[in-house]
């Protein structure tokens, strides 16, 4: 009994997104496909423990979901035109699976649907996490710090829009996809970020969100191999992922400069370097490639003991030119300080609009660091205080408090 349940749960984890992508690209109705798939999983949990799990759980679920979808479509008269397409699609899929081929992965179609201009930008990543990765609304809500009810509402509205507006599910014309690529990249990176932050509150059975994001980016580079930014994003995430094991020690935040590089995943770094090289060869630099190059330089510095501070500052400068986000400016200021130009870094921070940095924790942390370099201890302490007050997790908070306390231990300057 528990075996059948385990197989159902395992299939749900491994194949949810692919089953949903297949079903919804045929029914053109994500919400209906979700309902049908959820009914199919429910039926599996009722049937499999008695009759044993089927040889191909995915084919079984697909057949069951297809039936539910066709039933629904027949009941709702307006959906009649989709019934033959659905029936055909399921036969096609079942035939493919009978031949022992891997189940076709159409999740990229869903990805581009989720990033369609008609879909509100703020709901694209959540929608992607729910449909492509199968995360439930409550988990997504908590990753994005909104209430579960509000998140569910947004997701339902987005899915209704996909259906009502008739957003096309075709990915045949790659030229149509290029304009939507930035939104897809942004959504994948946000998924990575959500996974990255969630890792900190480590729970045993969490989904491997960062791994999923990397997988999606790799899929994207296969579909659109000439898009340099796709490779750039892949490289950026691989570099970050490679250091995941070293960024905390017993719950304590470890800055990059103090990472135990023995804990870095060298294969993952090699993948990141290869992806970045492919990106550069395409000769179309963009923000993700620059951020990946910055991470690559950090890796080189630590692994081969090279001084790359000036290179990193130059990369950040370029980043602020092509993508002038507040994060890029703060990163540039920090890089200038590391390159022995704390004065320039401070001047740069002073040019940022106060309202944009008021609640931005990284700004206050970098400001504190630079003020400390400039021996303006009292102001540095106030900036650390602000950064501590804005920190979201205990590890970061404690790290900043240690830094602040170091100021008190070694009084100098105006303190």
């Amino acid at each position: 009994m528990s075996d059948a349940r385990a197989i159902a749960e395992e299939t749900a984890r491994a194949s949810y997104g692919r089953l949903l992508a297949w079903l919804s690209s045929r029914s053109r109705d994500v919400a209906a496909a979700e309902d049908a798939l959820s009914d199919a999983f429910k039926a599996a949990l009722e049937t499999w423990p008695e009759k044993g799990a089927p040889a191909s759980p995915e084919a079984w679920l697909l057949t069951a979901a297809r039936r539910k979808l066709i039933d629904r479509a027949r009941r709702a008269k307006t959906q009649h035109q989709n019934v033959p397409a659905l029936a055909l699609a399921a036969e096609e899929a079942e035939a493919a699976m009978r031949q022992d081929k891997p189940f076709p992965d159409e999740r990229l179609k869903l990805l581009f649907i989720c990033a369609h201009p008609a879909i509100d930008a703020g709901v694209r990543t959540p929608l992607m996490l729910q449909t492509v990765i199968g995360l439930d609304a409550a988990r997504i809500a908590s990753a994005f710090l909104v209430s579960p009810r509000a998140m569910s509402g947004r997701l339902v509205r987005a899915k209704r829009k996909i259906k009502v507006a008739g957003i096309p599910f075709d990915t045949a014309g790659h030229q149509d996809l290029a304009p939507r690529l930035p939104a897809v990249l942004e959504a994948i990176y946000a998924a990575f970020g959500a996974g990255w932050n969630e890792e900190i509150g480590a729970e045993a059975d969490r989904l491997d969100l960062t791994g999923e994001a990397i997988y999606l980016a790799r899929l994207l580079t296969e579909l659109l191999p000439d898009e340099a930014e796709g490779w750039g994003l892949l490289s950026l995430m691989q570099h970050a992922e490679a250091r995941k094991g070293a960024r905390r020690e017993g719950g304590k935040y470890i800055p990059l400069s103090d990472h135990n590089t023995a804990l870095w995943d060298k294969d993952m770094i090699a993948h990141g370097e290869a992806a970045l090289a492919t990106a550069w060869r395409l000769g179309d630099p963009g923000p993700y490639q620059l951020e990946a190059a910055i991470q690559s330089a950090h890796a080189t510095a630590r692994l081969h003991g090279r001084d790359v501070a000036d290179d990193i500052a130059a990369l950040y400068e370029r980043l602020t030119e092509i993508a002038p986000t507040i994060g890029a400016y703060v990163g540039y200021a920090g890089a200038l300080a590391s390159a022995g130009r704390a004065d320039d870094g401070f001047d740069l921070l002073q040019t940022l609009e106060p309202a944009r940095v008021e609640n931005y924790q990284a700004y206050w942390a970098v400001r504190a660091h630079i003020l400390n370099e400039l021996d303006r201890k009292k102001e540095a302490r106030a900036a650390y205080e602000r950064a501590i007050g804005l920190a979201h997790d205990e590890a970061t908070r404690n790290f900043l408090m240690e830094r602040k306390n170091e100021l008190a231990i070694r009084p100098a300057g105006d303190s």
Partner: protein, 113 residues
């Protein structure tokens, strides 16, 4: 809009906690309160003494003690001003109590004005 944050944590843990750790947590609360003030979000806030100091009163009379035997007890509150619930949740997530125990976020009804 006004929001009330009700801070729940394991108050017995405080009785046995080392001073260094206590100072660390106090420091985090001070920094958090200060960040709220500087962003004009702060209205009010305070820690509450141990729930053993609490009294409850009903028609039947006054009784001692806490209301529940749960692991986490109400130990403090904040009243903040935020644009909307998402904004309030962002602030609540930064509250040190969110790492230690949990924070209940309640919108506050405006009555009378």
């Amino acid at each position: 809009m006004k929001y009330m944050f009700l801070l729940y944590d394991n108050e017995d843990a405080w009785d046995t906690m080392e001073d260094a750790k206590k100072n660390e947590i106090f420091g985090a609360y001070m920094a958090y309160t200060d960040a709220l003030r500087k962003s004009d979000a702060y209205i009010d806030g305070a820690p509450l003494p141990h729930s053993r100091e609490a009294k409850r009163i009903r028609a039947s009379g006054v009784q001692d003690g806490p209301f529940a035997d749960g692991k986490e007890q109400l130990g403090g509150y904040y009243m903040i001003e935020a644009k909307n619930l998402d904004d309030a949740l962002e602030w609540a997530a930064r509250c040190p109590c969110a790492s230690i125990g949990h924070v209940e976020v309640r919108p506050v009804w405006n009555i009378g004005d």
